[in-house]
Symmetry: C2
Subunit: 206 residues, 2 copies
Amino acid sequence: MLLCDIGNTSFHFYDGVTHYKESVSTFDIDNVTQTVYYICVNPNVIDVLTCKTNWIDLKPFVDYSKLYSTLGVDRAIISSYFENAVVVDAGSAITVDVMRQGEYQGGFIYPGVYHMRQCYANISSKLDYEFSFELDLDKIAFNSKDAISYGYLAPFVKEVKAYDLPIILTGGDGVKFKQLFKEARVDELLIFKAMKKVIDVNGSPA
Amino acid sequence: MLLCDIGNTSFHFYDGVTHYKESVSTFDIDNVTQTVYYICVNPNVIDVLTCKTNWIDLKPFVDYSKLYSTLGVDRAIISSYFENAVVVDAGSAITVDVMRQGEYQGGFIYPGVYHMRQCYANISSKLDYEFSFELDLDKIAFNSKDAISYGYLAPFVKEVKAYDLPIILTGGDGVKFKQLFKEARVDELLIFKAMKKVIDVNGSPA
């Protein structure tokens, strides 16, 4: 069974054994002839896929009854997978979603590492630094590089920790954040596990 | 006396009565013939001004002994102005600096409103929203617009409040943040008051 999670920058495939990414800008979807179960949050890709009969959209099978209707399908499907968790999905955007006793509590969206770095660089060449993830969150900064890293990371990390729930890190940059959330679980394949669960619950929706 | 605070996007002048801005990209500094006391954090402008004899840089007169040497002169001069405060200077970048009992505690840099909005829009057209400053900070979001506003504003505001010091808002967007820091004092002319104090302490350094 081939699964695909389509985001703003890549097609992320999982065939049950390995996972791999293809760039949204260069990947030719007609190269795939087998059945693909997918979710897609990329508005430029959604329309193209609708007319491909071997690409099966899982969104209609996701239970939105306890969520809000405009919640991205990737966030919806992952949130529904947990009873108690803060899920931090660190991709081009970082989405944070909070589940408590099986009820969706809400969430928020923060810029991902790449785009936030560009954002600082666009403000001034003096703010063009790589972020340091070895930051001491209890110590505000005493040099410019740390001032950027602290600004991007410290308020965000404190916000996520304040929910006092198990923290799950996923997405391409999930592992980077492990240093700041030492107690967190990293699961790169979480989205595929959640997609598989939707398929199992609904039967293969082909 | 003409004062000028030069940032990444504008020359901000104050003549003791009115203040006004000129764009960095279009302003001709040779239009000013009188003496100007200035501070400048814009690397593209600093070199040009050095050879203009009527433009007097205040940076050499700022006491950096309790600060760090790469701290922007605007942040240095404002921090030195207070004994106990968190200063939030909301311009193209938002700088936050903490003074406690006259000692600089450190600070951090966060993207300003305009650049952060661009940052979200660059990630996806679905994230292209104006921020809502009428946000309830105790309630994580249940729709996409609030998810962006919460992500940008809530962790930041909580961080600033956590220092438990008087909050001073300044910079072009300072007044926008007043809704989120109800107890804060807004002072658009703070930088000029701080510059004036440096001049008064040192005599007119012409």
